[in-house]
Symmetry: C2
DNA sequence: TTTTTGCGAAACCAAACAGTTGCACTTATA
DNA sequence: TATAAGTGCAACTGTTTGGTTTCGCAAAAA
């Protein structure tokens, strides 16, 4: 069972859940209202999100509030950094090229 | 067959391929040498990457060079932005809190 | 021309996945 | 206490995934 953050965000429903609870913690029932599937299906997604530490539970009586562990999202951001570097470098090169052309004029 | 970039980067092998060819275009055989699986398996991954426009082919005789379409990666970056905003806001709030405590001292 | 090389496509398979329904447990309420 | 509400877990199902092997085709080399 591969459980990493990249697999977690691969599913559109899970991305929806993540965006939803990023603003405020919610219960499974409240989350399920936003999707066209059963509460149990949402519950399964929440379990996957919990398994890779993207989501934290907080019991409150018989209700469980799910909250996004936003710091975990930084892992994706970190991986993206290498590509951001590349396209920034390319932009600088393009910029230099343009100013070289300008000077020649 | 839904093919989006999030599904493309979900697989560790595909992430490896992306990182590999980010530097320079490569042929399937050359790529496969870096992984412990058959060329055909790599080819399948390349097809998936091609299907979601993450990768571009360039035929050169009987060889096909695969090159990363780095701009496509910006889609992930764009999705990440909403979370980056949140954690930057939280950092600022923490920063303000700290300076308030400092002043009181 | 014949053979080798680089490649994609198809058929196949086991494992994982994303749903469902049904059930049991706990907490709040009548 | 009996019942309703909120939840997780297990069993089951159809589909997708990630790999394999086998094949055919086109380009390069013998």
């Amino acid at each position: 069972m591969r459980r990493d953050i990249f697999q977690a965000i691969a599913d559109p429903t899970r991305r929806g859940i993540i965006t939803l609870i990023a603003v405020q913690a919610m219960t499974p029932n409240a989350i399920a209202e936003h999707f066209d599937m059963t509460r149990q299906a949402i519950s399964k997604h929440l379990r996957i999100l919990t398994e890779c530490d993207l989501v934290k539970q907080e019991q409150q009586g018989r209700e469980i509030y799910y909250q996004l562990e936003i710091d975990k999202m930084k892992e994706v951001d970190k991986w993206m950094e290498q590509f951001r570097k590349i396209w920034e470098t390319r932009f600088q090169q393009l910029d230099q090229l343009l100013s070289t052309i300008k000077k020649k004029k």
